[in-house]
């Protein structure tokens, strides 16, 4: 469904070089964390393979903590930077969650930005976390963890407080993480032959908002529940517009709603062309009924 009640992401405008602002939807924090975890798991697996191979190849190389941290540093950053460059702003984790890194100014994503945003992640999260690992091995005291924890919390605060959901790396690199769009072109509801005719007066009642709610209802799937909803709405519309032309029952309700949608849209479009926006059913708050409106004209 294209429903209005669906998860509403934060939307922003991105100015293209062509001068047309595009609507973009910011990635949700949960999605970014999930993508991050997926990517880090993959990269860590890669680092483990490298360490094991290294240990097997040369018996002298012991996987001490600093060596392990360094190898995982190389593999992790190599992983992120490689994919974000080769896959144009996505990584396996980001693809899984449908996310994408773009340039905040609407230009091409630069290699320098990709490297900067990933190395900053190192300073935001991994270095403080690893400093804790380095200082005390596996036995931590609160005093050792606290500075790193405060640092990571401050970085998280930057992310949550920034208006466009930018982590420090995005701020510095001039990037933005968006939810990749994937809508398909659906059928035009105004298509098809008109069976029911409406008078001008019957189309005075509703505005754009109601029209779009009706659109959502019509685009919903076909099941018993939605059929019941549609016939209920059809009855309510008939009551409101004073439908007296002919009695409609059962299966015809669907056709009636579609025809009403088409007629209402045609009416509102022609109004719009004449410069009169009708946002919703309260567009003429002062005017109670279409009849009264006519009299004043």
């Amino acid at each position: 469904m294209t429903g209005a009640g669906k998860l509403a992401r934060s939307e922003r405008r991105l100015m293209t070089p062509e001068g047309v602002p595009l609507r973009i939807e910011l990635a949700e924090p949960g999605e970014r964390i999930a993508a991050f975890l997926a990517d880090v798991s993959l990269a860590t697996a890669g680092a483990l393979v490298v360490l094991l191979a290294g240990a097997l190849a040369s018996a002298g190389l012991k996987a001490t903590l600093p060596v392990a941290l360094f190898v995982s540093f190389l593999v992790r950053n190599g992983y992120f930077i490689f994919f974000e460059l080769r896959w144009a702003g996505t990584t396996p984790g980001k693809r899984l969650l449908g996310l994408r890194v773009i340039d905040r100014r609407g230009g091409p994503l630069r290699a320098g930005s990709v490297v900067a945003r990933n190395l900053t992640r190192q300073a935001e999260f991994f270095f403080p976390a690893e400093m804790v690992l380095m200082t005390r091995g596996w036995v931590w005291r609160l005093a050792d963890i606290l500075p790193a924890a405060i640092w990571i919390a401050a970085m998280a605060a930057i992310y949550y407080l920034s208006p466009d959901r930018l982590r420090a790396g995005d701020l510095i690199a001039g990037t933005l993480v968006i939810a990749a769009p994937k809508r398909v072109l659906t059928e035009d509801l105004a298509r098809g032959a008109q069976v029911f005719e409406f008078t001008q007066e019957q189309l005075q009642h509703y505005g754009v908002k109601e029209l779009q709610v009706l659109e959502d209802v019509l685009r919903e799937g076909h099941n018993a529940e939605s059929a019941r909803l549609r016939s209920e709405i059809a009855e309510r519309i008939q009551k409101r517009i004073g439908w007296t032309q002919q009695a409609i029952a059962g299966r015809e309700m669907e056709g009636f709603l579609r025809d009403f949608y088409r007629a209402q849209r045609a009416f509102l479009e022609s109004r719009k062309n004449l410069g009169e926006e009708r946002a919703d059913k309260f567009h003429a708050a002062g005017v109670v009924a279409p009849q009264a409106r006519k009299d004043t004209n």
Binding site: V20, R105, A111, D164, A266, L268, K272
Partner: protein, 328 residues
Amino acid sequence: MALTLKSQEFRREREAGWLELEALVAQAQQRGLKSLPTDALRRFPLLYRSALSSLSVARSIALDRALLAYLEDLSLRAFVALYARPVAIGAAIREFLARSLPRAVRSISVHVWIALAALAVGAISGFVLVNADEGWYPVIVPAGLAGGRGPGSTREELRKVLFAQTHSGSSLLAFANALFSNNTLVSLLAFGLGILGGIPTLLLTFANGLMVGAFLALHAHRGLGRDFTGWLLIHGVTELGAIVIFAAAGMRLGELVLFPGPYSRTDALAVHGGAIGETAVGGVLMLLAAAVLEGVFREAVASTDQRLTIAFATFLFWTLYFCLVGRR
């Protein structure tokens, strides 16, 4: 009402173009822009622009919400396919090293000079203070970093540290240890604290200089001034250079936060911030180089003369690189 809707007509006229663009975008996303035949490649930008114009029209006339949402998405997808292209990694690295990095550093040369000055003033002050009274030493150098070296140390003890062979087994281990040392943390802090307006960055750089000066005075008192200089500068030129670079980037960050000009703060960072990120990446490379010099070369090269030669060579290298490479 037999008339066709304006929006319906609009859609019928342009639908084919949208669907064609959608197919091209899907192919470009799966197999890359290069996989498109020449003819399609030529049509891509045209279709993209006509989709943008459809979007502009739809925004003003269409009451069909699904159509508008589709056009918004299609335009964004085509935009991403056109502008967020896969980057050839080798070419990107060459471009970065041969042009972007030295240019980025030169673009914030004022900040580099300020950071250098803070470091130098710190070093001189540290030297002067400890030279006059070694009682200052424990005040300036935290016990954790002194590594047991202090006013109580004899000449022999200090000498032993300067020419010690601790990591003779594994050079990778020595490298990793050097990388995760205090200076990495100082560099990153100097950079990160820049966001607070640049003053903490300056203080941190100054404090780091103080420590260098204090160490130097301690060794100079025991006739080891030259040996210590060799021990420090063989990697120190690169490592202190990295600190200066990070501090300069941090100060620029602070400047943009304090004085974003005609932009909002985040926009100012997006517009002018490229040089900051690139400089910081350069700083990371310098830290890696410093770790190699400290972990591997300092142990292998035990003579002070040779250490000083390497130090001078690295100094010459970084100076020439940042001053001359990539000039237009």
